[in-house]
């Protein structure tokens, strides 16, 4: 593989990592603060992508679509919280897994019923069309670079919010010891609703950004959800910093693995078998990492909870 192609793959990996981070941020806080496993977080990402695509098509502008999709994603997140999730906080983890699995089934099918099973195409906004020349003879799409920058800025904003504001302090305290925060007079349920809605919006934002890159289709959230779980387990549950670093590691590992592994396998196998075997082995890498972390460092690389 040439240096140029390698560079492109690294950038693609970072950009997948950024999207994963936006999804994982909400997931890790929800998990950390309320000890609630929300499998339905992946459909928030899908919902964002569909809302973005539909609103962009309706208004004729990607930007207007983005602007409208964010509050809509926030609203849907709140709706799910009020209707379903708040009845599950004091239940065991298996019940939470199961009920939120039901939400996935419903929403995946609902998207299919409304927009059909075929993937929707979202055009790249005119402002961000074209490419940037990375090296002589090597162009990289401007839109993907914009996604990278937007994600980094959001991450920075999130870091500021969590580390430097009062509400962020409460969230961090909640992730460390929810019972104590509640005993000190903070309405932990309301705090959680806020975190939840905000997390849903971030996942939705990731979905809108992903629209022009990946295909918008039912079930697109499932794969991202599992990757996001890998991210928060590796990064340490409840830790934003851990989620950020782990997301980038996972994004780059997954992308590079998928492009390098088949080449590596070609040394042992015939080309078509090498492609299939290589892709499968590459997908396995991140799960091996996750199992290793759980076995040897169960609190993750950057544990949020002290003591």
């Amino acid at each position: 593989m040439s240096t140029g192609l390698f560079l492109v793959q690294v950038l693609n990996g970072l950009q997948l990592g950024i999207l994963l981070f936006l999804v994982a941020a909400g997931l890790t806080l929800v998990f950390g603060v309320m000890d609630f496993i929300n499998l339905a977080h992946g459909v928030q990402y899908m919902l964002g992508a569909y809302l973005g695509a539909a609103l962009a098509a309706a208004t004729g502008s990607f930007w207007l679509g983005l602007l409208l999709a964010l509050p809509a994603a926030l609203f849907f997140g709140l709706l799910l919280e009020v209707l379903i999730f708040r009845h599950l906080y004091d239940r065991d983890h298996l019940s939470q897994v199961l009920a939120t699995f039901g939400v996935i089934l419903f929403l995946n099918q609902a998207m299919k019923a409304i927009w059909g099973a075929a993937p929707l195409q979202v055009p790249v906004p005119a402002l961000l069309e074209g490419g940037v020349v990375l090296m002589p003879g090597l162009q990289y799409p401007l839109y993907r670079i914009a996604v990278l920058i937007a994600g980094l800025l959001t991450g920075l904003g999130l870091w500021f919010l969590v580390e430097r504001t009062r509400i962020g302090m409460l969230v961090r305290a909640g992730a460390t010891n929810a019972a104590m925060v509640s005993a000190l007079g903070v309405d932990i349920r309301r705090l959680f609703m806020l975190v939840f809605a905000f997390g849903a919006m971030l996942a939705g934002f990731a979905g809108v950004l992903a629209g022009p890159i990946f295909s918008v289709e039912p079930g697109m959230g499932d794969h991202v959800l599992i990757l996001a779980f890998v991210v928060i387990v590796i990064g340490g549950i409840g830790s934003i910093r851990g989620a950020f670093i782990a997301a980038l590691i996972i994004g780059v590992t997954d992308t590079l693995g998928k492009s390098l592994m088949p080449d590596l396998m070609r040394l042992f196998l015939d080309p078509s078998a090498a492609r299939q075997t290589g892709a499968a082995l590459a997908s396995m890498l991140i799960y091996i990492a996750m199992a290793a972390i759980l076995a040897f460092r169960p609190r993750g690389l950057f544990p949020a909870k002290g003591g």
Binding site: S95, V97, L98, F101, L105, D222, Y287, M290
Partner: protein, 312 residues
């Protein structure tokens, strides 16, 4: 609670009896027999999971992988034209037991959410390993040349024989799980589930007990996988994925955790729903999803709990 226990046994025997009589009572048509086979195989797999979750507190989100290992043993041997039960069965048992032992040795060290996550990771590894087996269909799956033979005879092709074979296996699974749970081994498992520290204090190291339970559960699931591969004569990596493991958990929880009859009832209701709902609308998952949510929120003891409350 001897009364609850008796009800549990009674319910199970009633269901097994109904399944035994069904082909003789006019439900012998092919589509019924396919449905019954599916019910019984999933019931057996759900039983083995119920034994893990209810008995040992091991909530595995990778149980479908153990089932898939058994099914893939059938497929891989089939590709090499080895189709006799006398070879297939030992290989499948060995493969699923070994898979459970290797993954369990690491997974059982963790608890709670981490156990759910690590079993999910192992399940995904099994899924991707199966996808990488390009010689055995890879992503597209593998269609068997023939059902497994029994000492050279093609008995499994007979729908009636296969029906009673599945029933016999379900009975075996149930007896095995019930016996294990009632034994000293089962009591130690429950003790480690309820309070690992206290169990340790009275002299039981939880690890070997939990690991053995995990291997037994996985092996039973692998056997169910052998039957599953024979029932559908087809096996694909998707059967090992986390969604399928989620469905097995749904059967256990829907039926009611802590009662073995619950797993059987849950599997039957699940198979009925997934067969019947698509007749109403192609978007049946929009009905199925909310049923799942409502069942979790409002039916805390599961189906067997609801039945138990009425009669008890």
């Amino acid at each position: 609670m001897p009364r609850g226990l008796k009800l549990d046994t009674l319910l199970t025997l009633l269901v097994l009896l109904a399944l035994a009589a069904a082909p003789l009572l006019g439900f012998g048509a092919n589509h019924y027999m396919t449905l019954f086979a599916r019910m019984m195989i999933f019931a057996a797999a759900a039983l083995s999971l119920s034994f893990l979750v209810g008995g040992a507190g091991l909530a595995s989100l990778g149980h479908a992988a153990a089932m898939g290992v058994g099914a893939y043993a059938v497929a891989i041997l089939d590709a090499h034209r080895v189709t006799d039960m006398t070879t297939v069965l030992p290989v499948a048992i060995l493969a699923s037991a070994l898979f459970s032992l290797l993954t369990g040795a690491i997974a059982v060290r963790t608890e709670g959410v981490n156990f759910i996550m690590i079993t999910l990771a192992f399940g995904q590894m099994a899924f991707f390993t199966a996808s990488s087996l390009s010689a055995y269909g890879g992503d597209d799956g593998y269609t068997l040349y023939d059902r497994t033979e029994l000492l050279g005879s093609r008995l499994l092709e007979s729908r009636l024989f296969f029906h009673y074979l599945c029933l016999g296996f379900l009975l075996f699974c149930w007896g095995m799980c019930a016996m294990l749970l009632a034994s000293r081994f089962g009591r130690v498992l429950r003790a480690t589930r309820e309070n690992a520290l206290r169990a340790q204090a009275v002299g039981f190291a939880p690890y070997p007990y939990r690991l053995l339970a995990y291997v037994i559960g996985g092996t039973l699931a692998g056997l169910a996988g052998v039957l599953f591969a024979n029932a559908s004569e087809f096996i694909a990596p998707a059967y090992m994925g986390w969604q399928r493991s989620g469905e097995l958990i749904f059967m256990v929880i829907l039926g009611g955790l802590g009662r073995l009859s619950g797993a059987i009832l849950g599997a039957i209701v699940f198979v009925l729903l997934e067969t019947w709902l698509p007749n109403i609308t192609t978007h049946w998952k929009m009905i199925f999803g909310p049923i799942l949510i409502l069942a979790v929120i409002f039916m805390r003891g599961g189906l067997s709990g609801v039945l138990g409350a009425r009669r008890g």
